[in-house]
Structure formats: C-alpha cells, structure tokens
Amino acid sequence: MAETILKVDKLTKSYDGQIAVDSISFEVKKGEIFGILGPNGAGKTTTLEMIETLRSIDSGTATIDGVDVAKNPYAIRGMIGVQPQTPGFQDKTKLTELIKMFAAAYGVKVDPKKFLEDVNLGDKANSFVENLSGGQRQRFSITAALVHDPKVFFLDEPTTGLDPQARRNLWKLIEDVRDRGISVILTTHYMDEAEVLCDRIAVMDHGKIIKLDTPKNLIKDLLSRGFSKEQHVEQANLEDVFIDLTGKELHV
C-alpha cells in the first residue's frame, strides 16, 4: 500500500448559503492518477480550488504530505503543480522565458530546454504561446507546472477541445508524470479518458462524492447489479476508424 499524499477530511464550501461542496472526504496515494468525475456544477472545480489554496475552506481540512492547506498556503503552493482549464500564459514571451519565470515564481532556476524537450517542444523554444496549437499549449502547460518538482499535480479538464491524437499524447504524458512518483488529480467529462487514465475515480454530484473506486470495480459493481446495455457486434468504434485513418502520431 503506497503512502497517502493528500488527505481531504469533511471539506465543505458554500456560496451565499448555497452548498457547493458538502463535507467530502477522500485520500490520494503517492504516484496514482485520481479522477474526479461529475456533471457541471457538481463541485469538482471548487474542490480542486480549495485544495489548491485558491479558495477559502469553510470547514473541514485538507493536508498534503502532512501540511495543512488552510494554515500554510504558501508552503502548499510550493508543493503542488496546477494546470488550469485554460492555460494562462502571457503573450509575446518565449517558451524558455515562461519556463524561467515559472521556475522563478517557485524560487528555483532550471534549464528551460530540458523541460521543453520533456514534452517534445524542444524545437519551439523561441516561439510564443500564442503561436502554439491547442495540444502543444497543453503540453507546455503541463511541463510549466512541473518546474519545481511538485508532489501533487492538478489538472482541470486537460483534454477538452483537443483532437484524438493530441488527447492520446497527453494521456501518455500524464502517465509519465505519475511514473515519476507525482500524484495526479484530474477532472474530466470524458469517460473513456477516465477509464484509460485513472487508477481510482471519485464520482461527484450535488457537492458530494457518491462513489469512489477503481474504474474496473465501478463497472463490475454496475454489472453485478444486473445492468446490461444493447450489445454491439462491432469490435471497433468511429474513433478507432479515425485513428486508423490518420495514425496515432501527433500532427502538430
């Protein structure tokens, strides 16, 4: 059993009397990919933002590697990497300069080239973010969030709006991050993504975690309750066709 890196205990948040996150508790282990699924407004983003120190916590606690989020926000920020939904980077700034800035924000100096090569952007070192494709931007955003070697990495809907090749490439990157021993916590609307990527999944609705388990167990559980859907004879779907036709290689 791997050690616990993030411990969330009865975390609660409400806006104007409206409860957004309702006393949720969960734990994330070192080196796992933890998915938070749920419809819009379920409280996923609010949960992440509380743990990321961006929002105040009404009640309950969150600790990362034993450090309390509410009490030591600056220490926590040094331990986490955050990839927001829209990668916010200033324009007219070279990728190497942005890496340098982000490292500086954490008080460290790094070799920007190395971090760009990690995500296959070595040849884009002197480009500006505004000239990157959506997939390149997400890759850059990931590497920029890892300059300080964080313990936990948060991604908010990382593959929204990407083409199938870019999504697969990003999944691979996220798995690489996990294999470095960094815990990954992500939200997504894509079930295939959650199934392929996540070691464990928390399903949220109305501010509560209604189910938490591995994807396999979640499916097994549903089937054991006698669920069945219309059987398909095809052994492939349209995405398989698309990938077959256009290849797995990244196009940009």
Binding site: E52, V82, P84, F89, D91, F102, A104, Y106, G107
Partner: protein, 371 residues
C-alpha cells in the same frame, strides 16, 4: 525561500517582462511615440520667440504718396502681422468678428496730405477694434504712436525732456516651452503609470495569467516590485527620449543636474504607478477599470499643470492642486531641469510624493485581486 531567492524571483519577472515589452508594438507606441507627438504639437505651438504678435489689416483710403510709404513701413513692423488680403473695411469687420484679425488700421482719405503753406504731411490714422481685442488695440495704438512720433521728429524739431528706454536683462527667464515641456513629462508619467496598468492588468486577468501565477508561491509584493522596476526603467527611458528631442529640436536649456533629476523622476513614476496598480489590480475587467481610471487621470491631467501652467489658476485652486500627486512631479522636474534647483530644495514636492506613495500602495496591496 530565502530573501535572495525571493529577490531572484523579482529579477526574473522584471527581465522577462522588460524583454516582452520591447516586442509589444502598441506598448512601445504609447510609451515612446505618443508623448513625442504631444511634444511636437505643443512644442510647435509655443516655440516662437515669445513676442506678442497681432494680426491686423491696413486699409489705405488715401491717395497720398506719404500714405503709401507709411504702409510700407508698417509692413516691416515685427509687433504685428499685416493681412494683405484685406483691403476694405467691410472685409476687415467680418474677419475681426470671427477673431481672425485683432484690429484694423485705417488711413483715411487725405492722410499724409501736405497742407498749403506747410512742409510736412498731416493726418490721423484710426485703429478700429472689437470688444474682445481691447488690449491688442491699446498695444497697437502705442506702437503706431511711437512710429508716428519718430516720423514727426524728422519733420518738426522738438525737445523731448522725458523719455523711456528698455533694456534686456541677461538673466534667462522661463519660457512657455519650459512649462509645456515639464507638463508633458508629467503627462508621459501619467500615461505609463495609470493608463498602462489600467489596460494591462484586466487583460492578464482575462487570459488567466494572474490566476495561474496565483497557484505559485509568488507574493504580491514580489510581483509589484517587478512591475515597479520595469515601469521605472521604461518610464525613465521614455522621458530621456523626450529630453533629447526637446534639447535637440526645441532648444530646451537644461541647467540642472541629471543625477538629481533621475531619482526624482523615478520617485514620481513609481508613485503614479501605484495609482495604476490599484485600479488595474482591483478591476476584474476593462469595463471596471476604464471609468475609475479616467475619473482619476483626467482631473490629475488638467489640475496638475500638465497641459497649462498652474500659475494661471486662481490662488485657492493653486493651493489645492499643489497637493495632487502629479503636481509635484511637474513642478519638481521644472525646478531641477530648467531652474537648476537641487533635491534638497524640493522638500515640499518630495514630501507630497512620499505621502501619496504610502497611500496609493497601501490601497494597491489591499484591493489587489488575482482574477
């Protein structure tokens, strides 16, 4: 993090953003060219010798040769310009009504006629003017009187027991351009300090740049300090360009010490930047920033002497406007650059700026929002 690491953060942000600014053509235009455009417009308006100049029409209704000569002599005058296109009173009246002419000099019929038995010409010139050009007419009359007296003296020998003569003082006084120039320095400081952050910060918020930085351990003071450094460097560069243009093209005479001017202007730039940081840091978007920024910036612009000297204001207004944050910058720049005063003479200006700096930065830190 050690203090050294924290200051490295400031330095990295400062250097990267400085390089970024030199790639931003819009920012470069507003920082360097925009104040220069104003300098050329306002500098061109009052770069003349400072002599008063009236526009007048001369209407010669006389057929006498003396009237002809006199008209020609008037043309050589420097005190007023003659509009040669106006030859009759009706046209002159119309132009005077529109304010295009200050007055008309009429030489009536028979002006300059030599009466029978006399040796010299006689006549009376008439100066016509409107209600709005009384002082012009008074000056004109005096000039004409002097002119005619000179002629009279040639014809009739008279004693002049009491005379007056004028001599130029060698000491240089402040020209209108000195006031214009230091006012425009203030305008440039205001532009980069308020209008800059007012549009840049909401943009950074809109694109989620600040939100992303908020997830890092970066402190607000580190971010502010990097912006202050950048603004001071860019601001001083832009002022330097203005000084060079003013000295080379408009013959501005600098008598003060640049080593005193630089830290003083840096203080001014950083103080005004605090206002911009407060507005831009507080506003969620440009629609919030613009009205607040304009409400603060425009009164500053017009009350501080940026566009017209404060000595033209009534005393009570001068006393109030002495304390608004742009006034000490403009006054101080003029006192050091064109009057050769020292920092030690600028106690009131530095004091007012210092107090404002504390106030605006206290506000800026309080109201700052990352998103």
């Amino acid at each position: 993090m050690t203090l050294g690491q924290k200051l490295y953060t400031v330095w990295a942000f400062f250097t990267v953003n400085l390089r970024r600014l030199f790639r931003d053509k819009t920012a470069l235009f507003f920082t360097f060219l925009f104040p220069l455009i104003f300098l050329f417009i306002f500098g061109g308006l009052n770069s003349g010798s400072g002599d008063v100049s009236f526009k007048v029409a001369v209407i010669n209704n006389s057929d006498q040769p003396f009237a002809q000569q006199f008209t020609q002599q008037l043309n050589k005058q420097k005190t007023f310009k003659i509009d040669a296109g106006v030859t009759n009173q009706a046209a002159a009246n119309e132009k005077m009504g529109r304010g295009e002419l200050d007055a008309t000099i009429e030489l009536p019929k028979g002006f300059g006629k030599v009466a029978v038995g006399q040796t010299y010409p006689t006549g009376q010139a008439i100066v016509r003017y409107t209600q709005n050009s009384q002082s012009a007419a008074a000056t004109l009359t005096t000039v004409l009187q002097a002119e005619l007296q000179g002629i009279n003296a040639k014809f009739v020998k008279t004693e002049t027991p009491l005379t007056v003569t004028s001599k130029q003082n060698n000491e240089r006084s402040l020209s209108a351009f000195d006031y214009t120039f230091t006012g425009l320095l203030g305008f440039a400081v205001l532009g980069s300090g308020i209008f800059g952050p007012m549009s840049v910060f909401p943009e950074l918020k809109k694109n989620g740049v600040l939100r992303r930085l908020h997830t890092t351990p970066l402190r607000v003071w580190q971010y502010f300090l990097s912006v202050m450094l950048g603004n001071a460097v860019i601001g001083l560069l832009s002022l330097a360009v203005m000084f060079i243009v003013a000295i080379v093209i408009f013959k501005l005479k600098i008598v003060g010490n640049y080593l005193e001017l630089i830290p003083f202007m840096a203080l001014g730039i950083i103080t005004i930047l605090g206002i911009g940081l407060s507005i831009g840091g507080w506003a969620k978007n440009e629609r919030q920033a613009a009205p607040v920024g304009n409400i603060i910036a425009f009164p500053l612009m017009f009350l501080s002497g940026a566009f017209f000297p404060r000595f033209l204001m009534p005393d009570w207004l001068q006393n109030i406007t002495f304390f608004i944050p742009l006034t000490p910058i403009i006054d101080g720049a003029r006192l050091i650059a064109t009057e050769g005063k020292h920092l030690t003479d600028l106690g009131p200006q530095i004091g007012v700026l210092g107090v404002w700096m504390v106030i605006v930065y206290a506000i800026a830190f309080r109201v700052f929002r990352w998103e």
